[in-house]
Structure formats: structure tokens, C-alpha cells
Amino acid sequence: MDSHAVATGALYGYRNQKSSSTNNFFESSVTLETFLFYTLGAVSVGSALMMVTRRSPVMSALYLILNFFALGGLYLSLHAQFIAFIQILVYAGAIMVLFVFVIMLLNLGDEKKLNERFSWKKIVGAGLSFGVLMELIFVFAFSKANLPPSHFEKATDIGTVENIGMQLFTTFLFPFEVTSVLLLAAIVGAVVLAKKKLN
């Protein structure tokens, strides 16, 4: 079973790291690691908040990029190099370009056109995100004692490209292959939808 979750060990890195760094913090020896953790954490939360509160879509997109970079930095500080680079490459690189394209094509420059009315949808949305926040706090702050021990001892070994590659071509070989079929289906689908003409 151990091998199953190795590739996703970054999360454990996260958990181990977090608990050890908080301990360090209380022992009043603020290492570079803890400093980075809190700085990047603050940047990511701050940029996420800025992103949802900006009126201009372009500003939101820029804050989202900042958020991606801060998250990438967090991954890096947790020894998950591969995930960190993928985060920057895929999210900050590819997905953001898509966002910017959509903003450009929709021509959302005039933010006054956006609906600013107070609606029940917003209340539901706010309620949901508050619920998720409470749930996260609940799970990670109050139920720590109940969490089973991590399957991994050395988080530093997990995040390397070698390890992830190894897992990808042994334990996770089959899902990896299925992904290729998935992508082929997606490509065919995209072509079909793009060729379609509306009356």
C-alpha cells in the first residue's frame, strides 16, 4: 500500500512540515523555513482575497498569477520540487494564458457592465465558502489527534522527478495509459465542437 500514495506524498510533506515548523516556532527558533512558510502563506491568502474582490477581470487574473506563484513557492519549501514546477508551468503558464485569452475575447474591459446586484446566489455562494472554511479549520485544527500517521518518513525523497517518474511508470502505469485515451477522446470532442455551426 505504501507505494500507492508515494507519488502524492507532497501532502504528507506538508503535514509533517507544518507540525514540525509550528513546533519550531513555539520553541522560538524561527528558521528560514518557517519564515518562508508564513510569508508565502500570507501572500497566497492575500492574493486570493484580492482576486475575488477586484472589479476588473484583468486585475483578478494578475492576482491569480501571484497566487499561483505563492503556492508554487510553498510546494518548493515543502520539498515537492516537481509539483512546484508543474504548478508554475501548467497553472501560471498554460491556464493563465487561457484566462487572459478569454478575458480578451469576451472584451470585459468595461467592468460596470458586470452585474453588481445583491442576489441570493451570492448569499448561497458566501455561505458555501464559509462552510468550506469552517470545515477545513475543523478538520485540520481540531481533529489532529484522530489523523492516522503518514505512510512516509522522508518527505524529501518523494517530491523528486525521479520518484514521481518511477511511480508513474510502475504503480500508476495504468492510470497513466488511461489518460492517453482520455486525451484522445477530448481532442476528438474539441474538434467536433469547434466544427459545429449554429443556425
Binding site: T8, V139, T171, V181
Partner: protein
């Protein structure tokens, strides 16, 4: 590792066949550009071969590809359901005016249907969270495109877009639930490992509840359970009828297979001793079967009540299929192998009667170009055979003897009463009565109303009639001679790693 992968391949022939067929159908389409029908025949042949290979796998219980997929009687059963409905859908497509009107793109249509079938074959066997998500996505991506496929009209595009947005949302919710579960269990992705972790070290029940509710959101979307059903009527109405029929039977079957397997393996107390054979209990402090029971009541009640007001046959059948998902969910809430077997029996029956009803709608709409209930006026006189077949399908959907639908409902209700879930059985029975009303409404239009003056008799070709017979005969036959499907379902309720 290599040896194991090679050994796994040998147990994996149906899926490999489908993957090859998918590529081959595309290639044939590219090479023989002027004959798009050819790739449909290739696709049909591929599915037939995959079914033959699935039948060869009957009785095997094994885990393949380092625990990613289970090949067991349960999965084999659902593969047969999915595969046979795929064959029916291909045959329907050969006579569907809608599909044939966009002949040029028949290649993509056939190949995506195969991809969707492959996705569902993987869904029914997935025993790993990663595989579950990947297979749902493969099924989903193909079906989003197919739903907005043939008609170059806005309602078909609307259907596709709605399906994508709801699909993305529900998959997102499900992934979020999975990530919570992953964290709670110390990084388990294998559903057996999740169960071990949950049994040995009890976790916070509220966190577990939230995680499983989110996962139910993802799976509930696939089986169109209330309150995750919003896409169903619009997508069913906008999509080509062949795809609607496929979504309502195969997609639902695959979703149910995954739901049942996931809950039955991950969330039961596998350390409990002294239980009677075939009965299981939930994890302590987490009675998920009550959630399922509530979902089933909501699903069937809403489905049946809203169906009463529908005038479009596709929408009516959409709500009716929501209601049927509700009946089948009852079987899971019981927590016994008997309940699961009842669901399996229901699926065999449901496949014939629901595909049949959609096929009649397709035949009528081929001729009249309409799916409105008014275009069914006097259908019984314009084409007696089609009319009588539709009555049989509707009686079966309502669950009246002597049709197969009665047997399906009978086993569900019997297992409910057996497990002392009286109130749920009563709700189910009341729902069946409501459903009778809207089915009879259509029947009344067909036989008690005169056809419009300028409408002559409808003529159908011999192959169309033969295909209809292939669905009518089992619907009647299994109502009278049901022991083979009951035996088959009982044998198929066995899953890998559950005793």
C-alpha cells in the same frame, strides 16, 4: 512489475478491444472518407467482440494493474449491461434520422460512443480513487460532446453546455471530497486501504460525512439523483434520442456500479463479526445508508411528481429515469447482498424497457419530427404494433405484471420488507402509483384519442420492427420467466474482497 502488468493485460481484453476499436474507428473514418458508415460498423463490431470477451471473464475474481481495477462478477455484470446497451444504441443509430442527418460526422459519433463505453467499463471496475476519477472523466468528456452532437441547433448546444458545466462542477466537488478522504485516511487511494484505515483508526465523523457527501455529489450527478439532477431534463431533451437512451441506461448503470462498489467496500465495518451472511453494517458513527435512503425518497418523489406535468416525451422519460434511479437507490440503503442483487435485477429489466421506450420515441419522431405528447394521438391506430409495444414498455416502467418491470420492483420491495424498511417500501409503492398516472396519460393519447385528420398510417421497415421485437420480447418474457436473471444477479452480487 512488468510480469504483473502483462498478467493483468490478459484479464483486460474487453477494455483493450474497446481502446483499439476507438482508434480504429477514427482511422477507418480518415482512410475511407467517402464511407462514414464503415466506422460505425467497425465500432459496432468492436463492442460485440468486447462483450464476447467479457462473457469469457465471467466468474473470475481478480485485481489487476496493481489494485487499480477489479475484474469480478459484479464488474462483469455491469460490463454486459453497458456493452449490450451500446450495441442497441449503435443499431438504433442506423435508423435514426437525427444521427444520419449529419452523415459527415458519423465517424466522430461512433468513435466517441466507443470511448464512452470504454470509460464505463473502467468505471464499473475501478477500485482506486484515481481510477474512479479518470474513468468518470473519460465517460463524461465523451458524453458531453455526444449530447450536443447531431442537430446543428441551439437546444442541442445548450444541452451540451449545461452538461459540461454541471459535470465540471460535480467532478470538482467529488475531487474535493476525495482529497479530504485522502487526508483523513493517511494517504489511502485504494478503496480497500481506505476501509482498513477507517476501521482501524476511527476518524472525525463530521469530516467523513462532508467527504462522502461531496463524493455522493459527483456520483449522484452520474445517476441523476435529486438534488444533482438539474441537468437531466434539458440534456435528455436536447441530445439526440440515441444518446439520451444511452445516457439513461448505460451511464446510470456505470454510476450505480461505482456508487455501490465504493460505499460497500470503503464505508462498511469490515471488522464486524457474527453478522448473518450477506448482511453488512456501516462504519460506527457514520450511517451513510440513511443518507442514501433520504436521497432515494427525494429522487423518486421529485422525478415522479414533475414527470406528471411533462408534455415532451423525452422530458417525461427523463423524469421517469430520475424516478427509477430513486427506486434503485433503495436497494443500496438496505445494506445487504439481497438488496444489491435486487438492484442488478432491476438494471437488466430497466435496460430493456427504457431502451424500448426511447426507441419508440425515436421511431415516431423519425416520422413525425416531434416528441410532443400530442403527436402520439391515435398512434395505436396509425401503427398498432408500435402502439402496443409502447404500452408494454410503459406498463413495465410503471411496474405492473405481467411485464419485467414488475419483477424488478418486486425484488426491490421484497428486500426492503425483508430488512424491515417498511416506511421506505410504502414511499416507493406510493411513487409507483403516481408514475402510473403519467404513463397512462401517454397510453390514453395513443388509443383513446383519434389521430389528426390528415395523418395516415405509419409504416416501418422490417429491420426496425425486428429491433423493436428484440426489446419487446425480453420485456414480456422476463416478466414471466425470471429465474435466469435472478440467478445471474445473485451470482453477480459478489465483489472482489468482500465475503
Amino acid at each position: 512489475m512488468v510480469d504483473q502488468a502483462l498478467l493483468s493485460l490478459a484479464k483486460f481484453l474487453p477494455e483493450i478491444t474497446l481502446a483499439i476499436t476507438f482508434c480504429l474507428a477514427l482511422l477507418v473514418g480518415v482512410i475511407f472518407r467517402s464511407r462514414p458508415r464503415l466506422s460505425m460498423w467497425v465500432a459496432l463490431l468492436g463492442v460485440v467482440v468486447s462483450i464476447a470477451l467479457t462473457i469469457r471473464e465471467m466468474g473470475i475474481t481478480e485485481s489487476v494493474f496493481s489494485g487499480m481495477i477489479a475484474v469480478d462478477p459484479f464488474a462483469t455484470f455491469f460490463k454486459l449491461i453497458v456493452g449490450s446497451s451500446a450495441i442497441f444504441i449503435f443499431l438504433f443509430s442506423l435508423y435514426s434520422a437525427e444521427v444520419l442527418s449529419t452523415m459527415k460526422r458519423l465517424v466522430e459519433y461512433s468513435s466517441l460512443l466507443v470511448a464512452m463505453t470504454l470509460g464505463m467499463y473502467l468505471m464499473v471496475g475501478a477500485t482506486n480513487l484515481l481510477m474512479m476519477v479518470l474513468s468518470i472523466e473519460l465517460t463524461g468528456l465523451s458524453s458531453y460532446v455526444l449530447a450536443g452532437y447531431t442537430k446543428e441547433a441551439s437546444d442541442s448546444s445548450e444541452a451540451s453546455l449545461k452538461y459540461i458545466i454541471y459535470g465540471a462542477l460535480s467532478t470538482g466537488l467529488m475531487l474535493y471530497g476525495i482529497s479530504i478522504l485522502f487526508g483523513l485516511t493517511g494517504g489511502a487511494m485504494d478503496i480497500y486501504a481506505i476501509n482498513r484505515a477507517l476501521v482501524t483508526s476511527p476518524v472525525n465523523p463530521i469530516a467523513l460525512l462532508v467527504a462522502s457527501l461531496l463524493i455522493i455529489a459527483g456520483l449522484g450527478y452520474k445517476i441523476s439523483a435529486v438534488p444533482f439532477h438539474f441537468w437531466t431534463p434539458d440534456v435528455y431533451e436536447g441530445a439526440p434520442i440515441t444518446i439520451t437512451a444511452f445516457l439513461s441506461v448505460a451511464s446510470k448503470a456505470a454510476g450505480f456500479a461505482m456508487l455501490i462498489r465504493f460505499f460497500k467496500i470503503a464505508f462498511i465495518d469490515s471488522s464486524a463479526v457474527g453478522l448473518p451472511a450477506g448482511i453488512w453494517i456501516t462504519l460506527q458513527g457514520f450511517e451513510w445508508n440513511k443518507i442514501i435512503a433520504i436521497l432515494s425518497v427525494l429522487t423518486m418523489t421529485l422525478g415522479n411528481l414533475v414527470a406528471v406535468w411533462q408534455n415532451n416525451l423525452k422530458r417525461l422519460l427523463a423524469y421517469s429515469s430520475i424516478a427509477h434511479a430513486g427506486y434503485m437507490l433503495m436497494g443500496l440503503a438496505i445494506l445487504s447482498d439481497k438488496g444489491i442483487a435486487a438492484v442488478l435485477i432491476y438494471f437488466v429489466v430497466y435496460m430493456f424497457m427504457n431502451l424500448g421506450a426511447f426507441y419508440v420515441v425515436m421511431l415516431v419522431s423519425n416520422k413525425t419530427g416531434s416528441e410532443d405528447i400530442d403527436s402520439y394521438k391515435g398512434l395505436g391506430f396509425r401503427s398498432p404494433f408500435i402502439g402496443v409495444s409502447m404500452v408494454i414498455f410503459f406498463i413495465s416502467l410503471a411496474g405492473l405484471p405481467p411485464t419485467a418491470g414488475f419483477i424488478g420492483k418486486l425484488f426491490i420491495f421484497a428486500s426492503l420488507l425483508d430488512a424491515k424498511w417498511i416506511w421506505l417500501a410504502v414511499v416507493g409503492a406510493i411513487n409507483s402509483v403516481i408514475s402510473l398516472y403519467y404513463y397512462v396519460r401517454v397510453v390514453r393519447n395513443m388509443f383513446l384519442r383519434d389521430p389528426d385528420e390528415n395523418s395516415g398510417p405509419l409504416k416501418f421497415s422490417v429491420p426496425e420492427i425486428v429491433l423493436l421485437l428484440l426489446l419487446v420480447v425480453p420485456t414480456l418474457l422476463f416478466g414471466l420467466y425470471y429465474s435466469p436473471i435472478v440467478d445471474f444477479a445473485n451470482a453477480s452480487a459478489r465483489m472482489l474482497g468482500v465475503h
